[in-house]
């Protein structure tokens, strides 16, 4: 997540003090992502240095100093909002690695491994759902964060379901010889960036 851009978004509403920015940041994200006050002032310092924000005073950073966004900051914010995050290469997901490894280790029941992770994920989703049921009902920021987390975890459980089915089918089929051809170059590059 880009803290500088979220701070710029808060400053786009009007001039604000550092502590106020921290409170509004946390409230706006349902207090799921806490922010250290030192981090707020360090980030504001960088925004000032880069001409994206400016402050009232010239003194040291502190509660008396009020910040506002500059026209360049507004441009940077607009550009950031419309720039998709880099999702081109798959992350090296630890869970994917565990399932891939489980399928190869002799004597390991990959379905049992998958099931252990599925139970954990659903328990985690139960916790997020309790939050959705309670506090998030009257907190739009929190509701959006909870939805995002539930969809992320849901995607992982769906992948586990597919992996489970594929492994089951593969075990039922007669073994096939490994393909002789090398993988296509573009596939070999997958994940190279992370």
């Amino acid at each position: 997540m880009s803290v500088p851009h979220v701070l710029l978004a808060l400053l786009a509403e009007g001039p604000k003090y550092g502590l106020q920015l921290r409170e509004e940041f946390e409230a706006g994200t349902g207090e799921v992502w806490p922010l250290n006050v030192g981090q707020v002032y360090r980030t504001l310092g960088r925004l000032e240095r880069d001409g994206l924000a400016e402050s009232d005073g010239t003194g040291p950073d502190g509660p008396q100093k009020r910040f506002r966004i500059t026209p360049r900051g507004e441009e940077a914010l607009a550009a950031w909002l419309r720039t998709p995050p880099d999702l081109t290469s798959p992350p090296r997901d630890e869970l994917v690695m565990k399932v891939l490894v489980a399928a190869r280790v002799p004597g390991t029941d990959a379905h049992e491994v998958i099931q252990a992770h599925r139970v954990y994920l659903v328990e985690l989703m139960q916790q997020w759902t309790r939050l959705k049921e309670g506090e998030a009902r009257n907190d739009l920021g929190l509701a959006l964060v909870v939805d995002a987390e539930l969809f992320r975890l849901d995607a992982v459980t769906r992948w586990l379901d597919v992996a489970d089915t594929r492994l089951k089918r593969a075990a039922a089929e007669p073994s096939r010889p490994a393909p002789a051809a090398a993988p296509a170059p573009q596939l070999r590059r997958l994940g190279a960036r992370r």
Partner: protein
């Protein structure tokens, strides 16, 4: 006392050698006020489990008890009465009768059970009001949105004094926000003391339940333990 209890319930279809084992020795129980989700892929035996729990089908072996009463050997008429009075069903495709209004659909199970029409309609209206669709009472199913139809279906499932709610993929083809609303309403019914069993392949729906059990090839392969409260989610490390 458990509202629903399955003891070693097994179900096979067909004759040897083409026998299909749909369920193999399932044990589970659901208490009043509790929502249990049964999660599993297509063909795992979820729907068979639900039809057996709802007394719509008999197990090949094992026992089913509803409110402590064993279904095996129960006379047909008594079983049908139990089904009408104690069990409510919520189906994926709502199953509302198109020729009846919302309130008539909801009151129907009571009327079939011999409750006088005005009393049944009043109970139907009260159930619709609890689900926030009392103002749709006079409308026919095709005059309702998908979300409203499912609320009416839930009202029909809980009308009267039902103690057990059985739901098969209850959010059907609803979008996520409406699906959430359906689960919230089922959960609220549980908070009023109803026991519910929801079968689904969808982890987001299952996550509404107090407990989740996992079914694979007709057998339970795991269950969640009661997770810690949501507070623990709110204190992760700082963001960068």
């Amino acid at each position: 006392m458990s509202v629903l209890e399955l003891r070693g319930v097994a179900k096979t279809y067909g004759q040897e050698p083409a026998t299909v084992h749909a369920l193999g020795g399932v044990d589970l129980s659901v208490q009043a006020g509790e929502m249990l989700a049964v999660m599993g892929p297509s063909g795992s035996g979820k729907s068979t489990l639900l039809t057996i729990a709802g007394s719509l089908e008999d197990p090949t072996s094992g026992e089913v008890l509803i409110c402590g009463m064993a279904l095996a050997g129960m006379p047909r008429g008594r079983k049908a009465r139990l089904r009408r009075r104690v069990i409510g069903y919520v189906f994926q495709d709502f199953n509302l009768l198109p020729g009846l209004t919302a309130v008539e659909n909801v009151a129907l199970p009571l009327e079939l059970d011999g409750v006088a029409v005005p009393k049944a309609r009043a109970a139907g209206l009260a159930a619709l009001a609890r689900l926030g669709v009392a103002d749709r009472a006079g409308r026919f199913p095709d005059q309702l949105s998908g979300g409203e139809r499912q609320r009416v279906a839930i009202a029909r499932a809980v009308v009267g004094d039902r103690r057990l709610l059985l739901a098969d993929e209850p959010s059907g083809a609803l979008d996520s926000v409406n699906a959430d609303e359906v689960m919230r309403l089922l959960h609220e019914a549980c908070q009023r003391g109803v026991a519910a069993v929801v079968v689904t392949h969808d982890a987001q729906l299952a996550a509404w339940a107090d407990r989740v059990v996992f079914l694979r090839d007709g057998r339970l392969t795991g269950r969640t333990t009661r997770p810690p409260g949501p507070e623990s989610l709110l204190t992760p490390g700082e963001v960068r």
